[in-house]
Amino acid sequence: MALLVNEKEVPFHTGMTLADLARAQGGDAADILLVNGYPATVQTALFDGDQCWLWKRGKVPSADEMQHLLYARHSPGVQACLQEKVVGIMGLGGLGSVVAIALARMGIGSLLLVDYDVVEPTNLNRQQYFVDQIGQKKTTALQDILRRVNPHVSVVTIDRRLAEDDIGVVFKGVHVLVECFDDPAMKAAGLRAALHHLPGVFYVGASGLAGYGENNAIRTRRLYPGIYLVGDEVSAAAPGAGLMAARVGIAAHHQANQVVRLLLGAENEAE
């Protein structure tokens, strides 16, 4: 007989209450008490198999606790793989900010984030920044957001405008490079740089995600072994066909999931 307390098994004895668990935890008194997903009090009687959460409001989970949460959700095999990997992201706009947050939530090991831009009011319709971050460098603003999502992801930022010739140098050693540029010339430059200078690095680019066109026109296409392109490949950002949170988000999450698939060996690259 056992309870699941903060995702860990604890022996259960008939007549136990949340007060017994709180006492056993020691330290700061928990002030958020949940049993099977519902708010509870210290008097709440417990039954075999109950899932309990005891948490001190505002407490930041330790690296061990965070790892355990992710193990429980994703399975240890998946998590052990993801937390050893390094992913580079070029451009931290509507695509890059979404990809970075998704990967941090999934417990990726390290992120290398590069952008030169600042958060502008016109970004907020689709990029993951907040009103109080207007004027901040995107590298700084995103690093702050990621710290609140998962403080145990190692985040390195470079505040600089990338050029084709330095992509191979800046991102040497990453496992996957994600192209999230806005400018089509840089999208082409990114792919060329990866194909010429980053052998063995997986690559996930994007093209064609503006407007509110069909969901399912966004697809993930394999260009070369380990090299993928996400988008409908035709919907350019233009007056009257702006970038909108939903469709950009669909494409960004295609990219993030493709990163995970590549890292977990779900793509048969021999095909």
Binding site: P184, A185, L191, R192, H196, E233, L243, V248
Partner: protein, 66 residues
């Protein structure tokens, strides 16, 4: 002369350079990645590489937005 461009046979002027061919197609050369006969061209080669009869061209065209 004939080339194969993204799987389609095309009749083109003899010896045309990649940049000029892309312009003829109405494409901005800067936003296209070009594979010619299995090789990814460098940016510099767009202006110098002349297409040969029977060339197999793959164009990966990018549109803006991110």
């Amino acid at each position: 002369m004939r080339i194969l461009c993204n799987g389609e046979a095309r009749e083109i002027a003899s010896g045309i350079r990649v940049t000029d061919y892309l312009n003829q197609l109405g494409l901005d050369a800067l936003s296209v990645v070009v594979e010619c006969d299995g090789k990814i061209l460098t940016r510099e080669e767009y202006g110098s590489h002349a297409l040969q009869d029977g060339a197999v061209l793959e164009l990966i065209r990018f549109v803006g937005g991110g």
